[in-house]
C-alpha cells in the first residue's frame, strides 16, 4: 500500500516540522522588548469608535486615541489629556477647553479643536448607526440634531473658538461631563483619513485598517487579524511619548476563558481579561499575588416582569428578593469577591451612597408571601426564570432556584435561551423573571437610575412611577449642588427598591491574573487602564520565576 506509506511518512515529517520544541515564552521575550501581551475577551468587531459598543474595543481604542481629558487611574478624577486645562462656568453649563500645542496625530498633523468638533459631528450622523450617540446628548441640542428635529449643526453647543480652544455648551448642568469626555464616543478622529476612504457616515469603511488608521493616542495600530490578535506600537508623535514605557501591546481575543487562563500559565499572556470561577480558589490559595480582584461598576440582578399577575404584587417581589442568601452565592458560587447587592447603585459611586434597600430576611419574606396569599408557597404558580446561555448564569440560577424552594416553598423552572432569543424575550416582556446585568457608562448614580423611567428602553419590567420619573427627568438635572442632586437620586432609588421590579444580586468585580513584571497597574471601579503608565520589569521575571508560575 504505497499510499499508506506515503501518508505515514508525510505525517511523521509534518509532525516533526510542527514540533520543534517551545522557545522563549511571550512574557519573557515581552519583558525584554517592552511588549505587553494582554488577554482581551471577545474579538473586537471594529475599531471605529462611533460604531463599536464593547469593552474589548474600548481597551484597544484607549491605546489608539485620546480625548480631551484622561482619568487618573487611582482616583478616576479627570487629568489633562489633549486639553491642558479647562474652565467651567459658574452655572455648570459651559466648558472651555484649552488644547495643548504639541498634540499630534500619528502622521504628524497637529490635533486641533476642529478635529474634535468634526468627530462629534460625525458621532451624531444618524446614518452611521452610532449606538452610543446618546453619550453626546449632554451637549445642548445634540439630541435634537441626532433625531433630525434640527438640521443646523451650528445650533449644537459645540463652538470652535480657535485651533486650540473649544467651547461646549450643555443641555443641563451635567456634573459628570468631564467623565464622559474619556469615553470613546468623544475621542477625536482624523478627518482627512476618514474622508479618504469614503463618506464620513459610511459604516465599515477601510480607514480603521492597519496602515490606514491615524490616531492621536500613545500607540498606533500596526496589525489587526480577526480572531488572532491586534498589535499596537508606540506612537512617536504622541505628545507624551517620552513617558510611554511600553514599545508595543498585543491584544489577544480570549473568548474561551479556560484557554485564557492556560495561556497565562504557560507565559503567553501578561494579563488576563477575567478568571474562570473554578480557578479563583486555586490562585487565592497558591498564588494570591497573581490574582487581582476589585469591585466593578456594575450590578448583576434579576428583572421581574411586573405585568405578570402573580408578580405584580410588590410583596411577592420583595419576598423573592429577601429570601436570597447573597453571602452564600458570592462565597460558594461566584467566588470572585463580589459584593452582595442590596441596592441597585454600586456602593460609593463618587460620593453617592444608595439608601438602605432591604436585608436578607427569610422570615419576613415568608410573612410577605403569606400576606400576598401564598402561605408556604401554596398556590404560587410555577414561575419561569429566564437567563441567557452561560455557565455562570446557570450556576447562580440553580442556587437561587433552590433557595426560593427551601425558604418560600415556591417552584421556579429554569430556562436558558441563546443570547439573541433571550434579548427578544426580555424586550418583548415575554418572561417572568429574567437575569440581567448593567455596567455603568460613567461613574455617577444617574447611569444606574435613569434606565428605570417609565417605558425607558432599558426598563423592560413594566414598572412605572410618576414620582420616580419626575425626580430623574425633572428635578435632579436641575439640582444646584451635588449634595442636593444626590439626595434626589437617593429618593428615586428608594422608590425603586421599595417597589422592587428588580432583584439586585451582586456587584460585579473585575478579575484578572497579572504577571508580576507588569508595573503601574492601578485598580479602579471602571477597570480602567492608562497604558502610558504601564511598564514591564525585565528583571523580575527571569526564567527562574517564570518556572514558579503555578502548574
Amino acid at each position: 500500500m504505497p499510499l499508506l506509506k506515503m501518508a505515514s511518512v508525510s505525517i511523521l515529517l509534518s509532525l516533526l516540522l510542527m514540533a520543534c520544541g517551545q522557545g522563549e515564552s511571550n512574557t519573557a521575550s515581552g519583558n525584554r522588548q517592552g511588549i505587553l501581551h494582554l488577554g482581551n475577551g471577545t474579538d473586537p468587531q471594529e475599531l471605529d469608535p462611533h460604531i463599536v459598543t464593547g469593552v474589548p474595543e474600548h481597551n484597544i481604542l484607549t491605546a489608539l486615541l485620546e480625548g480631551l481629558v484622561l482619568k487618573d487611574p487611582s482616583t478616576l478624577e479627570p487629568i489633562p489629556g489633549v486639553a491642558t486645562r479647562w474652565e467651567i462656568s459658574a452655572d455648570g453649563m459651559r466648558y472651555r477647553f484649552y488644547l495643548r500645542d504639541d498634540a499630534r496625530w500619528s502622521n504628524g498633523d497637529p490635533v486641533t479643536a476642529q478635529d474634535f468638533a468634526w468627530s462629534w459631528w460625525r458621532a451624531l450622523q444618524p446614518a452611521l448607526g452610532n449606538q452610543y450617540a446618546y453619550m453626546l446628548f449632554a451637549i445642548k441640542n445634540a439630541e435634537a440634531y441626532f433625531r433630525q428635529e434640527l438640521t443646523d449643526f451650528s445650533a449644537v453647543g459645540i463652538n470652535v473658538v480657535d485651533d486650540h480652544t473649544l467651547e461646549v455648551e450643555l443641555a443641563n448642568p451635567t456634573p459628570y461631563f468631564l467623565q464622559l469626555l474619556d469615553h470613546y464616543s468623544y475621542f477625536p478622529l482624523h478627518r482627512a483619513t476618514i474622508e479618504k476612504f469614503g463618506p464620513p457616515d459610511q459604516r465599515g469603511s477601510l480607514w480603521t485598517r492597519p496602515g490606514n488608521f491615524v490616531g492621536n493616542g500613545p500607540f498606533s495600530l500596526t496589525e489587526w487579524q480577526l480572531f488572532k490578535r491586534v498589535i499596537v506600537e508606540k506612537n512617536p508623535h504622541y505628545w507624551d511619548a517620552e513617558n510611554v514605557s511600553l514599545n508595543a501591546i498585543h491584544f489577544y481575543p480570549t473568548e474561551n476563558i479556560t484557554t485564557e487562563e492556560r495561556m497565562f500559565r504557560s507565559g503567553q499572556l501578561h494579563r488576563t481579561a477575567t478568571v474562570p470561577i473554578d480557578k479563583l480558589a486555586v490562585y487565592r490559595r497558591e498564588h494570591p499575588e497573581l490574582l487581582h480582584t476589585y469591585p466593578y461598576l456594575g450590578n448583576y440582578f434579576y428583572r421581574i416582569n411586573t405585568e405578570v399577575p402573580h408578580l405584580s404584587d410588590k410583596r411577592v417581589r420583595r419576598a423573592l428578593a429577601m429570601s436570597i442568601d447573597r453571602d452564600a452565592i458570592v462565597q460558594q458560587v461566584t467566588k470572585g469577591d463580589e459584593l452582595p447587592a442590596y441596592t441597585f447603585t454600586p456602593p460609593d459611586t463618587l460620593g453617592y451612597t444608595a439608601p438602605d434597600g432591604f436585608t436578607y430576611d427569610p422570615d419576613r419574606a415568608r410573612a410577605l408571601m403569606a400576606e400576598a396569599g401564598y402561605p408556604g408557597g401554596e398556590d404560587f404558580p410555577v414561575t419561569e426564570l429566564l437567563f441567557n446561555t452561560s455557565e455562570g448564569h446557570h450556576k447562580i440560577a440553580v442556587a437561587i432556584q433552590q433557595m426560593w424552594y427551601k425558604e418560600l416553598g415556591i417552584k421556579v423552572s429554569l430556562h436558558n435561551q441563546d443570547w439573541k432569543v433571550f434579548l427578544n424575550s426580555v424586550n418583548g416582556g415575554n418572561y417572568g423573571i429574567a437575569r440581567a446585568g448593567w455596567i455603568g457608562d460613567y461613574v455617577d448614580p444617574n447611569t444606574f437610575l435613569d434606565m428605570w423611567i417609565t417605558d425607558g428602553g432599558n426598563n423592560r419590567t413594566g414598572w412605572s412611577s410618576a414620582r420616580f420619573d419626575q425626580l430623574i427627568l425633572e428635578e435632579s438635572p436641575r439640582a444646584e449642588t451635588r449634595e442636593q442632586r444626590y439626595r434626589l437620586m437617593r429618593e428615586a432609588e428608594a422608590l425603586l427598591l421599595e417597589d422592587m421590579p428588580i432583584i439586585p444580586i451582586h456587584i460585579y468585580t473585575s478579575k484578572s491574573l497579572v504577571n508580576p513584571a507588569v508595573k503601574g497597574l492601578e485598580p479602579n471601579i471602571l477597570d480602567y487602564t492608562l497604558y502610558k503608565n504601564l511598564s514591564l520589569d525585565n528583571l523580575s521575571l527571569d526564567k527562574k520565576s517564570a518556572a514558579e508560575l503555578p502548574d
Binding site: Q402, D418, V421
Partner: protein
C-alpha cells in the same frame, strides 16, 4: 412472482439466522458481559427514584465540592449535591436519549440507505441529494428555531438528534447495499425470481448489519454527548436535572480542581460504551449470515 419452494427455503434460513445468532452470542463471553452490564445499568436507572441516596436537586452550599467520602461515595459538586445520585438520575436521561434517538436514526437511516442503494438511478440521486441538503443546513439555527417554536421539550431532543444522526447512517448503508447488489448471491436471488422486498429484507439488510451495528455502537456515545450540548443550549433537559453528558462537560471545566466531577460520570459513560461495544461486536459476529454456513 414468488415461487413457493424458495419462499419456505428463505423463511427457514431467516429464522435460523436469528436463532443461530442467539446461540452464538451466548457462547461469546465478552458479549454476554456487555449485555449484563447494560441490563444492570438499565435496572439501576429504572429504580433510581427509590434507591438514590439523596435528591438530585438537594443542595448543601456550605459543603460545596467535596471529594468522595462515607456520606457521599462519589463526592459532591460545587452546590454540595451528591454525585452518585446525580449520576444515577443522569443515567435515566442518557440511556433513554442514547437508545431512542439512536433507534430513530437507525430505522430511518437503514431504510433510506437501503432503498436508495437498491433502487439506484434517479431515485437514488434524489434521495441522496436530499441527504446532502440536510447535511448542509446550519444546525445551530435549526436548534434555535426548534426551541423558539416548541420550547423546552425532551421529545424535541430526539427529533433534533435523529435529524442529524440518520444522515451518515444512510450514506453508509447505501454504500454497502450498492456494493452488495451486484454480488453473485444477490444476482442469483434475482435470477431465482425473488421479489424485491424479499431480497431487501432477507439478503440486503442482513448483509449490511455488520457496518450498521458498528456505526450504531459509535452513534450512541455521540448522541449522549450531543444531548449535553443541546441541553446546554436550552433544548434538552432542564436544570437541576442532569445527564452524563452534562455532568462530563461541567466536570471538564474544573478537572484540575475537582477531578472527581469528571472521573465518575466519565467512567459511567465509558463502561456503558465498552459494554455496548462488546455487545455490538458479538451481535455482528453472531449475525454474520456467512458465518452460519460454517
Amino acid at each position: 412472482m414468488e415461487n413457493p419452494h424458495s419462499a419456505t427455503l428463505t423463511q427457514e434460513q431467516g429464522s435460523s439466522l436469528w436463532r443461530d445468532g442467539w446461540i452464538r452470542l451466548c457462547k461469546n463471553h465478552m458479549a454476554l458481559f456487555g449485555l449484563g452490564v447494560m441490563v444492570f445499568f438499565c435496572v439501576i436507572a429504572l429504580l433510581t427514584p427509590w434507591i438514590a441516596p439523596y435528591g438530585y436537586e438537594q443542595q448543601d452550599l456550605q459543603l460545596g465540592a467535596s471529594p468522595p467520602s462515607a456520606a457521599h461515595w462519589l463526592g459532591t459538586d460545587i452546590f454540595g449535591r451528591d454525585m452518585l445520585t446525580r449520576i444515577m438520575y443522569g443515567s435515566r436521561v442518557s440511556l433513554l436519549v442514547g437508545f431512542v434517538a439512536t433507534g430513530v436514526a437507525l430505522v430511518i437511516g437503514v431504510l433510506w440507505g437501503t432503498v436508495a442503494g437498491y433502487a439506484g438511478g434517479r431515485v437514488d440521486a434524489v434521495m441522496m441529494r436530499l441527504v446532502d441538503i440536510l447535511y448542509a443546513l446550519p444546525f445551530m439555527i435549526f436548534i434555535v428555531l426548534l426551541m423558539v417554536v416548541f420550547g423546552r421539550n425532551i421529545l424535541l431532543l430526539f427529533l433534533a438528534i435523529g435529524a442529524v444522526e440518520w444522515l451518515t447512517m444512510a450514506r453508509i448503508v447505501r454504500g454497502q447495499v450498492q456494493n452488495l447488489r451486484h454480488q453473485e448471491f444477490i444476482e442469483a436471488a434475482f435470477s431465482m425470481g425473488l421479489s424485491r422486498w424479499i431480497i431487501i429484507r432477507r439478503h440486503l439488510i442482513p448483509n449490511t448489519l455488520g457496518p450498521v451495528i458498528v456505526y450504531t455502537t459509535l452513534t450512541i456515545p455521540n448522541v449522549m454527548l450531543l444531548e449535553a450540548f443541546l441541553s446546554f443550549l436550552g433544548l434538552g433537559i432542564q436544570p437541576p436535572q442532569s445527564s452524563w453528558g452534562l455532568l462530563i462537560s461541567h466536570g471538564v471545566e474544573s478537572m484540575e480542581e475537582y477531578p472527581w466531577l469528571l472521573i465518575f460520570p466519565g467512567l459511567a459513560l465509558s463502561i456503558t460504551l465498552f459494554a455496548l461495544n462488546f455487545l455490538g461486536d458479538g451481535l455482528r459476529d453472531a449475525l454474520d449470515p456467512r458465518a452460519s454456513k460454517d
